[in-house]
Amino acid sequence: MAKYMLIMRGTDESNAALMASIDEAMAATGRFIEEMVQAGILLAAEGLDDPGQGVVVDFGGDAPVVTDGPYGETRELFGGYFLLDVASKQEAVEWARRVPAVRGSKIEVRRVAEADEVPPGSGKNGRI
């Protein structure tokens, strides 16, 4: 078993489509969440507010630079996530297929690293 995060990624167009039928989308998401709760696999789910309200802290230079959102050139914006506790990657993918996502959006399926493992390339003694 392992934890997987379904990362919701939307474009300006898909976000606009989402907002156009937001009540329907909320109801469908509510039903989907209920289904995952009953399957015993949902650990957490959050949706993010309008990216235009966000800020970006940029570590590109000597000191972090804070700028207002939106993110400028980023085409696909992180809009929310589901955190699942499932038996396999295939099962995480199967749940991802079922997300009532709007056309044009994408879901990235990523495994959550366990406390006792170090992601590849992060240095042997790195703790996350």
Partner: protein, 410 residues
């Protein structure tokens, strides 16, 4: 990974399909066989062409296989009855395509009550629950319990026959039996969890994948029975216990005692989930699972063994002993008493257990007795006890720890 994964869809859908089909046919054995046939068909046909709606495909195919079986049986038993069925219309027509979600929830719950039915022997309840509610294959169940696959298959086959022979109805138990039957379901789920959290045999102390199956089923039950405090109590207990798994063995699998565990490895999200579940138990009238969860929560809140609120742990064991008197509770209480008030008082409790022969054959009594004797400086007696514990212990990892500890005592 373009193709739809049959096993993944099965894991997500199996309980609902078996439950809905059992409701439809009134026969759990038939429903389970039909869904297994559907899965077998999916394994052959999906790699060639994935269905647009895999869950619907499985449900429809399983339903067709169930109808085939009913027709075959009916034809064998009574040709006139077949005509009657035809006259009444195709049984498939009575199937509700858009299944009422509330009905399906009740069906999954009914399925749990049937698979944990008291008419079944305990091992059969475990196997059948993992199969029909958890969606595990016989191979997976066999691996989880370290028994041969044919043993699991035989248990499941016999269990289905027993349920049919006893005419166990597919329904929620009547109100007056509900609480007791729910206790039976919790017992089965906890038995699955403990097999994963302290393997009774084999060469691993922990089998987190087995414990995970139990936690998943308990979460399902908590969602379906949100007003039942003890379901949340059991969920809290299992989440809080599983939170310690990462620290309970070292990288080569050797058990690490509570006092030596690196508490930074404890899974803080699991602890948070456990505490949230504990908050949903009854504070005035806590049941045995809630009390055990409260003990686990006391450990989870402590920075070290020394800084643990052992007086509180002793009080909680007192309460647990009143709700469910058991020698294991007394033994655990003795360990807490040793921490709160010293080994001498604890040893008196253990001696009582030994004299009354209340836990004969268990390695736990000599384990605790040996440890207490060691702390009292009675090394020779301690070593004898720990060696006895090692002989009685079926888990090789635990046995090795006991023998190493015994060897340190001159």
């Amino acid at each position: 990974m373009g193709a739809v994964d049959v096993e993944a869809v099965w894991r997500v859908e199996s309980a609902r399909i078996v439950a809905a089909l059992t409701r439809f046919t009134g026969d759990l054995g038939l429903a389970e066989d039909a869904t297994q046939e559907a899965v077998a068909e999916a394994l052959v046909s999906w790699p060639r062409a994935s269905p647009a709606n895999p869950a619907g495909w499985l449900m429809a195919t399983a339903r067709r296989r169930a109808i085939d079986t009913i027709r075959r049986r009916t034809a064998l038993r009574d040709r006139y009855a077949l005509l009657a069925v035809d006259a009444a219309g195709d049984p498939a027509a009575s199937w509700v395509e858009d299944v009422d979600p509330d009905r399906i929830d009740d069906d999954v719950l009914a399925l749990m009550f049937v698979s944990c039915h008291p008419v079944l022997p305990p091992a059969a309840r475990v196997a059948l629950t993992l199969r029909v509610v958890g969606g595990l294959s016989s191979e997976q169940i066999a691996r989880a319990f370290l028994v041969p696959v044919p043993t699991v298959q035989a248990r499941i086959t016999r269990a289905k026959k027993t349920i049919a022979a006893a005419r166990v109805p597919f329904e929620l138990p009547p109100a007056d039996e509900r609480r007791a039957r729910l206790g039976g379901v919790l017992h089965v789920l906890y038995a699955i969890f403990t097999e994963g959290s302290t393997a009774t045999s084999g060469d691993h102390l922990l089998r987190p994948d087995v414990a995970y199956e139990a936690v998943r089923l308990i979460r399902t039950l908590a969602a379906l029975q949100p007003d039942e405090a003890e379901v949340h109590g059991l969920l809290a207990l299992c989440e809080l216990t599983a939170a310690r798994f990462p620290a309970r063995t070292d990288p080569d699998g050797t058990p690490v005692l509570l006092e030596d565990q690196d508490r930074r490895l404890w899974d803080t999200s699991a602890i948070r989930r456990g505490l949230a579940a504990l908050n949903r138990t009854s504070p005035r009238n806590p049941g045995p699972y809630a009390l055990q969860a409260a003990i686990a929560a006391t450990h989870a809140a402590a920075p070290s063994v020394g800084a643990t609120d052992w007086d509180r742990v002793v009080l909680l064991y007192d309460a647990l002993g009143r709700v469910t008197p058991s020698p294991v509770v007394d033994l655990n209480r003795a360990v807490a008493v040793a921490m709160a008030s010293g080994p001498a008082r604890a040893l008196a409790i253990v001696e009582e257990l030994v004299t009354a022969r209340r836990l004969p054959g268990s390695h736990l009594v000599p384990t605790v007795r040996g440890e207490l004797l060691a702390r009292l400086g009675r090394s020779a007696e301690a070593r004898v006890e720990l060696e006895l514990a090692a002989r009685l212990c079926a888990n090789q990892r635990e046995r090795a720890v006991l023998l190493r500890r015994a060897a340190t005592l001159g």
